[in-house]
Symmetry: C2
């Protein structure tokens, strides 16, 4: 079983609408709040060589990325830190604070616990004061499929290419880009932290659409081997870029550089270069 | 080192004001939001014999208790669940949902992870629409020290008295009582989840006051041995009752049963029956 199988146990309890996006939504009179929580721990998320500062940065960045993926502005982060040894704490909180500062969020404390394996859960609250969150279920046939940045960097870094180590350890969530995409009128959005392919499938499932993408259009780091980078981009995970869906006429509202990788189609299939795209990505298994 | 020592590493980074209460505070035009996050894991928090349903209930209850301790109303809970085996999930989410339902919060999903030790972080958002949160720093000399309920039950349950097992595993956060205390004009409040004694010290440190309590006034379960229950109440932890501080004249505003256990004094000492109260409680150690 993987995460997406187990989500089917939670979905009927929480309600399907609640479990379908990068964040939960809480509508208040003064705006739409979005909240996201992410668990990271040493064995699966903090590769050897990552500093405490980077662990703190990344723990915050993954949550801010989820907030960005709704088109929201991050307000506040709390961290629950399960510490294996006390010496690590100081660097972790400095990295967390630096990431919060960079994106305008308040690092507001949290909880401390003793744990046999370093385990950090970051939870963030974001807000949209002037509109609605962009969800996963709004993609429409004909929409253009866009991504920010260049993909595959994190896995290239993880698998030994030192030029991409910093991309892996210090992800830069796309807060400004998420807001620009929302204001431009994007119909659907999520981050591609589990890989591009599985993210396309997630949007397709929520939006009840198909997609056609071209491998040659996927933006890859120019300094990397194309085949290796493409595999990393599609199935690897760890890139905190945004994937969004927008009508052709609204593309002109975008004031940020993005790459068009394909189009939404009527059917329910997802194809790349005309062949069915494998549904693979970063998943937890039990 | 214990939690409260390590908090001194976080305090200068986050700002002292942020780390001083049961919840972080986020002030919006439509009210004061309070957020709390709590990490629980098998070895330290889920005793053998506790069911999955109870694990889910407790994970939510500890966070709702923190929200109650600010005098706020819980709105939304997200859970990050690090699962050791997939079979446990269904019961856990049902228990979580039941606790959310009981206290009027929405269980809004969260994150799933694979972990060698069952680890759950619950994060909650609460709101006060019509006033300010009650914090730890407002106790004043002359204030009456009040607690809700009867104390010591959780540790009595943990140490083998089956009459209190359910109190340990299914804590009932005092949401209504917290709001009543806030509206009555309580000056300071927190929950006593780490034990009564350490909680008195926490309030005293934030409020810069001393306290005098009487052991004979501490409300204990009538069916328990007094000495054993008193020790559990003072130093044990696991009781999710509220401790609050209110002026004598405002006591009449309280529409809930509470027990007066002492008074706030001018000095910085905390005494019980005239002797210095040991500063002990439930703490994590590294």
């Amino acid at each position: 079983m993987d995460d997406r199988d187990l989500l089917e146990i939670i979905r009927p309890v929480c309600g399907s609408d609640t479990c379908s996006d990068d964040c939960a939504i809480l509508t208040l009179p003064c705006g739409a709040l979005v909240t996201s929580t992410d668990m990271l721990h040493e064995r699966s998320d903090f590769p050897a060589g990552m500093t405490g500062w980077q662990i703190g940065w990344m723990s915050v960045a993954v949550t801010i990325s989820d907030i960005a993926a709704m088109g929201a502005e991050p307000l506040q982060i709390v961290l629950a830190i399960g510490l294996d040894t006390e010496e690590r704490l100081a660097e972790i909180v400095l990295g967390a604070q630096a990431c919060c500062d960079t994106y305008g969020a308040v690092y507001a404390g949290g909880d401390l616990d003793a744990h046999s394996e370093l385990t950090i859960v970051s939870t963030g609250v974001g807000i949209i004061r002037d509109g609605e969150p962009v969800r996963r279920g709004g993609a429409k046939p004909g929409d253009i499929i866009c991504v920010t940045g260049t993909l595959g960097r994190a896995i290239l870094g993880l698998t030994g290419d030192s030029r991409f180590w910093k991309d892996l350890c210090e992800p830069q969530p796309r807060v400004r880009e998420g807001t620009v995409a929302r204001l431009a009128g994007a119909h659907a959005m999520m981050d591609i932290s589990d890989g591009l392919a599985i993210s396309l499938y997630d949007i397709a499932a929520e939006s009840h659409v198909g997609m056609e993408i071209s491998s040659g259009r996927i933006p890859l780091p120019p300094e990397a081997d194309v085949q290796v980078a493409l595999e990393a981009a599609l199935y690897g995970g760890g890139d905190f870029e945004l994937l969004f869906f927008i009508s052709e006429e609204k593309m002109k509202n975008l004031t940020i550089p993005v790459t068009q990788i394909g189009r939404v189609s009527e059917g329910l299939k997802i194809t790349m270069d005309g062949m069915e795209l494998p549904k693979k990505g970063y998943l937890h298994h039990w």
